[in-house]
């Protein structure tokens, strides 16, 4: 019989008056309070973290978000905002006795301005819909996190999500021109505008991007779009060693080629992805690079030729080009399933996000493999090689405390090493709960104090997603 390792703690009781006032402000369908309704909101996409919330509310507009924030402040109830719950650092996992503010019902695209190349959306719009809306008028929204078919744009901004195209196009931050935010006191602010240039005052907008719901609640997002590239070409290169693949990546960058996508999968990941997606990946290879170049047709053709040559010079066993646009999409989609597909192997899948300067990639990969061997833990690695953003993924079993202990030890060493190479704990998943303990080490005392000061200024009572990124003392005094 299974034993429970992570019992769902009983929901912390909410002040009855808080619930009464919420019920007065929202219709019945927009508030969930039964245990059967709440349990499914007790987690996001992160392994081994769960906590049943006190209540879930679905606001329909900015005003109703502000209402929840004001009531929460009045009754001192913590607020955790959430989109589709696909986060990978526990950023939207509830805290005891909190109200979950689920923004999924605010899902309208409000405006597509093809003169200024901007798109205005509510936070609950699924990222794929934004891509599709832009695509339909010949424009392009590049950020494409692995979960883009599910994740919401609000969540993408709150976590500053990356994706497969980060190398050439950057991450979510690079496409946010403006935000509407509800602050901790319930006031509503607009940060940014449609101007390409704007230096009026501090860049407050950027403060909220990647703030993981700890500073305010994003209620509208103004996005920058770019022209759709006229051509694209996808290549698959297979290798007998991870080192050769890593060296190819360094060589491509050194030759001043910036492909749109430069993804890496090791053999374990490759086999899991192929078992699910059946797109004909070469499962015998030790390592695989998925490379995409886009832009003007002539430039694409030239880059593809040069990339093919560089791959061959660096011991690629084979280089294959996607035969059609459909095949290219199938390959990218298969790659996006990598994290979930790895869950086939062991009961618990813990995805890490250590990122290093690209020049240090080969060193980092070697270190990960040595560390896994040393601690006898199973690690599969894939990731955005071109960005130096790796996803070493621990395949383990949360019910085995001894094994989990070894996983934690290995993880700590990998973080330490990434930092020693001038890297970061997290390239694109955020700190949330999962990496909170390591953050002070990366930032150093002075920077961490600055972070705390900002949090205290914007959320003096510590009610917005408390305990994420950093711990806030109960009655926050610096």
């Amino acid at each position: 019989m299974p034993t429970s390792l992570h019992p769902l703690p009983s929901p912390h009781p909410l002040p009855p008056d808080f619930l009464r006032d919420l019920r007065a402000a929202f219709d019945e369908d927009s508030i969930l309070t039964s245990r059967e309704d709440l349990i499914p909101y007790g987690f996001d996409g992160t392994a081994a973290l769960k906590q049943v919330p006190g209540v879930v509310v679905f606001p329909q507009d900015t005003n109703s978000v502000a209402t929840v924030i004001r009531l929460a402040r009045q009754y001192h109830v913590p607020v955790v905002s959430r989109g589709s719950g696909t986060g990978l650092s526990g950023g939207s996992v509830p805290v005891p006795g909190c109200v979950v503010l689920c923004l999924g019902d605010m899902n309208r695209i409000l405006e597509l301005d093809s003169k200024n190349l901007t798109l205005l959306a509510e936070p609950g719009v699924v990222t794929q819909r934004i891509f599709d809306a832009a695509d339909a008028v010949g424009l392009f929204y590049p950020p494409d996190p692995g979960s883009m078919k599910i994740s919401t744009i609000g969540g993408n901004v709150a976590e500053n999500a990356g994706g497969l195209r980060g190398l050439k196009y950057g991450v979510t931050r690079n496409y946010v021109m403006g935000l509407e935010v509800v602050l901790a006191d319930g006031s509503v602010v607009w940060l940014g505008n449609k101007c390409v240039k704007d230096v009026a005052g501090y860049n407050l907008r950027d403060l909220f991007i990647g703030s993981e719901g700890t500073l305010g609640v994003i209620t509208k997002v103004l996005l920058r779009l770019v022209p759709k590239p006229a051509a694209r070409q996808t290549l698959l290169a297979t290798y007998a060693s991870m080192d050769a693949a890593a060296e190819t990546v360094s060589a491509i960058i050194a030759e001043r080629i910036i492909p749109c996508t430069l993804e890496f999968l090791d053999q374990r990941t490759l086999r899991c992805v192929e078992a699910f997606a059946k797109v004909g990946l070469p499962t015998e290879a030790e390592a695989l690079l998925l490379i995409e170049t886009d832009g003007h047709p002539a430039a694409v053709a030239d880059e593809a030729d040069r990339i093919e040559r560089i791959c061959a010079q660096h011991q690629a066993i084979a280089v294959r080009r996607a035969a059609s646009a459909e095949e290219a999409v199938r390959l990218a989609t298969a790659r996006r399933s990598a994290f979930s597909a790895l869950a086939r192997l062991r009961p618990t899948t813990i995805l890490e996000d250590a990122t290093v300067p690209r020049s240090e990639l080969a060193k980092m990969i070697r270190f990960i493999n040595e560390t896994a061997r040393k601690h006898q833990v199973e690690v599969a690695t894939f990731g955005h090689f071109g960005d130096g953003n790796l996803h070493p993924t621990f395949l383990t079993d949360e019910r085995n405390p001894e094994e989990m202990h070894r996983v934690e030890a290995a993880m700590k060493e990998i973080f330490d090493y990434a930092l020693s190479l001038g890297g970061t704990l997290t390239g694109e998943h955020g700190v949330g709960l999962a990496k909170k303990a390591y953050l002070p080490q990366q930032l150093g005392d002075a920077t961490f104090t600055l972070l705390k000061a900002i949090k205290h200024t914007l959320d003096p009572e510590g009610l917005l997603n408390p305990g994420k990124i950093l711990d806030v003392p109960k009655h926050a005094h610096l």
């Binding site: 059967e36 309704d37 007790g42 589709s84 719950g85 618990t348």
Partner: protein, 462 residues
Amino acid sequence: MSSHLPSPQSPTNVPPSALPPSANLLQSLDYSVLQQCMHCGMCLPTCPTYVETGRERHSPRGRISLMRAIADGELDVTRDFGEEMYYCLGCLACTTACPAGVDYANLFETARAEVERRGVLDSTRRKGIRWFALRLVFTRPRLLRLIGRLIWLWQESGLQRFARWTRLTRLLPGRLADLEPQTPRIQRHFSDALIAPVERPADLPVRARVAVLTGCVQDLAFSDINRATVDVLLANGCEVITPRAQPCCGSLHAHNGDTEAARALARRQIDLIDPSTVDAILSNAGGCGSHLRHYDHLLRDDPHYAARAAEWSRKLRDIHEYLVEIRFRHPAAPRGAAGAPVPLTYHESCHLCHGQKVSRQPREILRALPGMEFRECGEATWCCGSAGIYNITQPETAGWLQERKAGQVRATGAKVVATANPGCHLQLENGLKAAAADGETPAVVVHPIVLLARAYRAEREE
């Protein structure tokens, strides 16, 4: 009547002695089955009930979290939980979307069985209906066919038309009055009258010996599909065995939490067709095939049947899958008869594409049809709302899905819609009829194999 059938009075599926009073069926699952779900959310956009409501509880990962909470003893098997398990269509679209390979079909059937074992949804009316359908009618093939014959008489004698015309059908109680127009048209002849126990190809060497499963509802309402199945197999050099008065395969029971009856029916099927005597066992209905394939799992703990059930599952094929496997002969176009090609589209039965992962093969058959132009349907893999008896138990969601499906089919401009499951067939027919504008002829719904059989026939009639 077979002695190992459960008694119709037995309210539960598991002998009370098998489980301690505090335990539940979800706990009896290997925990890794539950833990396999890492709640990444890849299933969300493919789940019709989540897309309709936007609430996690109505999503695959939400439902699994509830099952896990029950297995962990953090939630009781409540009425709310029971209702959630029956709000799920069981379309298994999530299993196609799931990169982690979660065995949702197993989880879902176990959860429903637990709901029934606990009786949290019990009411006198529900118990009565379940007893009548699951334990009485659908375990007794001859009784089912007798009822079919009576409905046929009602339809053929003009009584049905009279009752509808005089609006007497409005006197039926509540939901029955709404459902009456959806009663399938019963065939004059059932399969046993149309198909001989053994048929051999007339002018071809025999390349394989196969058994054809005629189904239960399929046999009453679509015996012509069974005949077409045999015709197509004969045309491809197969010797066809069709056992008489075949029982229900038990999928209805397994999907509705009556595992014990499902096992009994599986044993009867295996008694009827010894898998060692044939090269393949063929199903032509998506819902049945999806269940029939898993007899190995269903009977794995049965010392007398486990080995035969394993062989059964190894040899079970969907008809489209089998035809493509044996490289079916593409029908030749009749000479001279070339008019404009008839636009044709395809709706995938959930349990064919998600349950059995047979998606490419029916299209291959449809594309091989002369005189027809195949067009893809948007959301072809979305549930039409039929989902077994879902259109009876959850009319609102079923209706929403039916309209959505009819809209997608109409958008293709197809005159013919092919589909390979009796439930979908009826749901599409009714949906297209309702969606048709005044004076518009709705697209004709037909099984792909019937189209193939027609094409072979047209060759000969030249």
